[in-house]
Symmetry: C2
Subunit: 199 residues, 2 copies
Amino acid sequence: MVPPSATSTPTRATRTLSTAEERREAILTAAMPVFAEKGYHAAPTTEIAKGAGISQAYLFRLFPTKEQLFTAVIERSRERMIETFTEAADRAEAEGLDPTEQMGIAYADLVGSDRDVLLVQLHAHAISAYMPAAREAMRNCFAALYSLAEERTGGSPEELKAWFAEGMLINVLTAINAEQVDQPWARSLTDIEGDCFNQ
Amino acid sequence: MVPPSATSTPTRATRTLSTAEERREAILTAAMPVFAEKGYHAAPTTEIAKGAGISQAYLFRLFPTKEQLFTAVIERSRERMIETFTEAADRAEAEGLDPTEQMGIAYADLVGSDRDVLLVQLHAHAISAYMPAAREAMRNCFAALYSLAEERTGGSPEELKAWFAEGMLINVLTAINAEQVDQPWARSLTDIEGDCFNQ
DNA sequence: GATATGAGTGAGTAAGCAATCACACACAAG
DNA sequence: CTTGTGTGTGATTGCTTACTCACTCATATC
């Protein structure tokens, strides 16, 4: 297919081409759910390109390798988490609530409602042992989240560690849909009353 | 290649063929590191078959689909963990040590030294959202580990939850090699003094 | 020996994959 | 109107993949 063009006059008011930056954004948006569902290796770049409304050839012009695209997606999911935590901390501060608790709740909400962010993280964890670029991206993610949590909660290292551990548990339990399992282990582990900072 | 046969006389003492069960074991042993390194989708069955010393065709006779092979590998890594925890609990009991702490240490040792067990778990976590068989296997894994931990530590639900959370954190930090990172977040999170049951 | 069953393979098949290349069109500036 | 640059594509390439099929050999039982 040829790029869409105005039928009569391609006047200056109507642009038919997007900027590369807009396309890059569209690609990331399309890539997130595909990587989330299928992981790095099984995610076809054709499917991502189709989702972004461009050809596969152009995708490879904007992201020269699939690996670069994947790490960009990891970074984007990091940004989502940072936003979520920042908003929760702001809200806690404004309403005089405990920031640690509010940030924890906000995180559980985020990964519960936006599975893509969560699943991209999990795939990145698994692949990072043998993919240096992903490992680097994950380390940066931890670094950013840790310093944010440190600043906004003022917690001790022990508290921060417990808070992160809780987050990692939420990740896995959400991935396997533990809250829908009617068994003792699932009920206990998903019980929000039992967390490290909320009792 | 033709299956190996004794040159002169194939007498009853020397068997040239293995039993299917032996082959199945060999396949699982060969499959573990391949799935660990590459994840489900990127792990070639040809490579696994070669590692097990059989043809790919015979692999598919013993495990009709790749998915069945993968879930068998998940179960095998669960067995490894169960063994590790059981031994640690026995040792703790014999020497009068805290079982919770000993099991935690044993786990950190396990995933630190045998990366395959860890990485198979992480890949399974990530894939389980869209692969029911893996999800089921992971749930069974949690169920088994939870009841074991409950029995052997006698901990409260809150303690068990914190213990599992700690384990999930160890997983991720081990995957990204956090202990080799010389930054505040990495030092704090990998600090073994700061865990939930060891202070 | 004959015969049945299980162990084991070589050689495919059909599909899907990342990445490339030569080329077309849109737009802005002289 | 032309020229340069950035946006965009169709077609292809070379490779890998899970899975199958027709077949051979080993072993055990009668």
